[in-house]
């Protein structure tokens, strides 16, 4: 299990766009998503995977576990951080067209969602998975997916309305 087969490598390359979106749904930050994607790939290349493993599910699981590790270590770092001002300002763009402003609003609103709601919404609304597929993928009950997706949509809509009113 130390190296990937050529078929697994090809499957992993095909999976990269979905894996990248999953990274973004976990981190909600483009730079963190890039880091998480690369660290995930490095881990897969380093540790390999079983010959009969489903590449998409295996890679997403590795990705999620790496992010959980990072969240835990950030939690520790946050407790001892001297200042938070140093890292502010990530994920914003300077373009001021109506379209980019709208997309910036959505990015910011997505960032405000709890991670589990964001991940469920992305699996269903972006990846087009059914509730059953998303539930299997994220390893939670179907009812949980349904609830998370609905609450995510509701919170997102409320956040976007608030932002539009504030900027109007």
């Amino acid at each position: 299990m130390t190296t990937l087969t050529s078929q697994q490598r090809q499957d992993l390359i095909d999976e990269l766009p979905r894996l990248k979106r999953y990274c973004l749904s976990l981190t909600s930050d483009p730079a963190d998503a890039d880091d998480l994607l690369q660290i995930t790939v490095e881990r897969l290349l380093e540790k390999g995977m079983p010959a009969d493993a489903h590449v998409a599910k295996w890679s997403h699981r590795v990705c999620k576990n790496l992010w959980i590790d990072e969240i835990r270590s950030r939690d520790v770092r946050n407790r001892y951080a001297l200042s938070e001002g140093v890292i502010d300002g990530a994920g914003t763009t300077s373009a001021n067209t109506e379209e980019s402003v709208q997309l910036d609003r959505v990015s910011a609103a997505m960032e405000q969602l709890p991670a589990e709601q964001r991940a469920a919404l992305v699996q269903v609304a972006v990846e087009g998975r059914s509730y059953a597929e998303a539930a299997a993928f994220l390893e939670v009950p179907i009812g949980t997916i349904m609830s998370r997706v609905a609450r995510a949509r509701k919170a997102l809509a409320a956040n976007l309305e608030w932002r539009e009113e504030r900027e109007a």
């Binding site: 690369q38 490095e42 809509a157």
Partner: protein
């Protein structure tokens, strides 16, 4: 087990959880399930008839669908920007990773920035305290500098021989008064010495070789 059954099984008091048993139904949950095509046939028919008659529900549906479209565009942009080195890394044969190449940039950057800030602060602080400002040294030095020519003879004697100012409160003021008089006397002596030194130099210059 269908989603409707799952919904029926959910029992709690959270605001956003639907209750499909009775009349209490969260419209946002129904809209969400309708958008995702997760309502069964019977529920779909009932919901479509509601949509025809309730304009507020239609407006809400339009809004949620528009938001979904925007989310897709945001995430489509993300998928377009996969770092090229990642695919290259997977494609490369016989690659051995000696150590993880990638670290968490955000936090590494923050740590480096914090370290730099500390170093810069230390350097600036050192530079500021290292600036030679006679008025910040002490009264003794300030007085000597005001009353003595620059680099005059005896200046270094003044620096090394005079005791530092001591004392606290009123006692300190008295002590400082006495010391100021002492400094004044000494500076007068220094001036006399300088004049004598200057006259000696002048005399030496006037003497024939």
């Amino acid at each position: 087990m269908g989603v409707a059954k799952k919904v029926k099984d959910m029992r709690d008091d959270r605001k956003n959880v639907v209750d499909m048993d009775g009349s209490r139904v969260d419209d946002d949950h129904l809209l969400s399930m309708y958008i995702d095509n997760e309502l069964d046939a019977e529920q779909t028919i009932a919901f479509v008839s509601r949509l025809k008659s309730e304009s507020a529900l239609r407006t809400r549906l339009t809004r949620l669908e528009e938001n979904d479209g925007l989310i897709k565009r945001v995430y489509a942009q993300s998928a377009d920007s996969i770092p090229h080195q990642v695919a290259a890394l997977i494609s490369a044969d016989n690659v051995t990773l000696l150590r993880p190449v990638r670290q968490w940039r955000r936090w590494t950057t923050a740590a480096v920035a914090a370290s730099c800030a500390v170093v810069i602060a230390m350097v600036l602080n050192t530079n500021q305290t290292a600036v030679f400002n006679p008025m910040t040294i002490d009264a003794q030095m300030a007085h000597a500098l005001e009353s003595s020519p620059s680099r005059a003879a005896g200046f270094w004697l003044l620096l090394f021989r005079l005791p530092p100012l001591r004392g606290k409160g009123r006692k300190k003021e008295k002590t400082q008064g006495c010391q100021e008089k002492q400094y004044q006397r000494q500076s007068e002596q220094i001036q006399q010495r300088n004049q004598l030194h200057g006259s000696c130099i002048a005399a030496a210059r006037q003497e024939p070789p």
